[in-house]
Symmetry: C2
Subunit: 154 residues, 2 copies
Amino acid sequence: MLKVGRLADYGVLILHHLGRMRPARLAMDSIAEITHLPLPTVRKVMKYLVDAELVISKRGPNGGYQLARPPAQVSLAEAIAAVEGPLTLTECCAARSTCEIHDRCDLADRWPGVNAIVVKVLERTSLADLDRFGRHEPHVPPPLRELMAPIRHL
Amino acid sequence: MLKVGRLADYGVLILHHLGRMRPARLAMDSIAEITHLPLPTVRKVMKYLVDAELVISKRGPNGGYQLARPPAQVSLAEAIAAVEGPLTLTECCAARSTCEIHDRCDLADRWPGVNAIVVKVLERTSLADLDRFGRHEPHVPPPLRELMAPIRHL
DNA sequence: AAATTGTATACCTGGTTAGTATTGAATGCG
DNA sequence: CGCATTCAATACTAACCAGGTATACAATTT
């Protein structure tokens, strides 16, 4: 699995569209329309995005939502975390781990390292970058180079 | 979230211990003991690991489980996939996507690129590598360098 | 003030996951 | 040959959580 929840997925999709419109505003029902998502669901997602200050909302006639920053400055990590909370691959990685085994587990202090790398990949991928990904092999530049160290060839 | 299920987590932990023992065999109740996991749960996990051919089982007196390959040749990706099936960040990334929106979604062909990178990180991290991760900053070497291309600084 | 648009809360429900129990089959040993 | 040991397979239950929905409320513009 290694899943990102559907709501978070929706969040990214919505941010993507807001990015394309920026700096224009988009009303909630317009968002529902262009994303083909049910309106009540959009409502829920928008709340998360506003709370996380990724989008700015304006009420009243001609109100709507606007991406708070240029798409190149919004990371997937932020987007996902906005909807689902902190990015933790396992319980071990959470701030307050609730894992029964935690203190007797050989891996409790190893997972965070793996988690950190995965998170960094997502942190360094922006909404704008997303546009460049095809279904084809992704190509990625040097900024991530120094992240990779204990990882070996298999 | 971006979660790995608990069973998969257990699976990795078990593989880790089997790796430390290799090539010795370990009976199921011994595994339960050293991992501090309930035995019925271990049973379930072992089935997945055997089916995936990551461990070899032997029955009868002095039977038990043995890691099929050296720990350096077992990736986290395999381990997780053994328990949870294909690694797909979102529905879009699955072989047969069941997403309602899929064909009308702007991102349907973009997620797989992100997915591929995350998966590659996990593919290039072996059980042996796991031992080297501390709670501290992880360092990762060049093999992942060329993966990173459309990712920009934020 | 009225229309438009976002905000907040609370609830339901269905599916997945984790955990368990039971019965069966293979292997090795004396 | 048969008994002890150990894994294998199936099916069930229970809890939780994500996703989805409904409804009533508040703010802003004109």
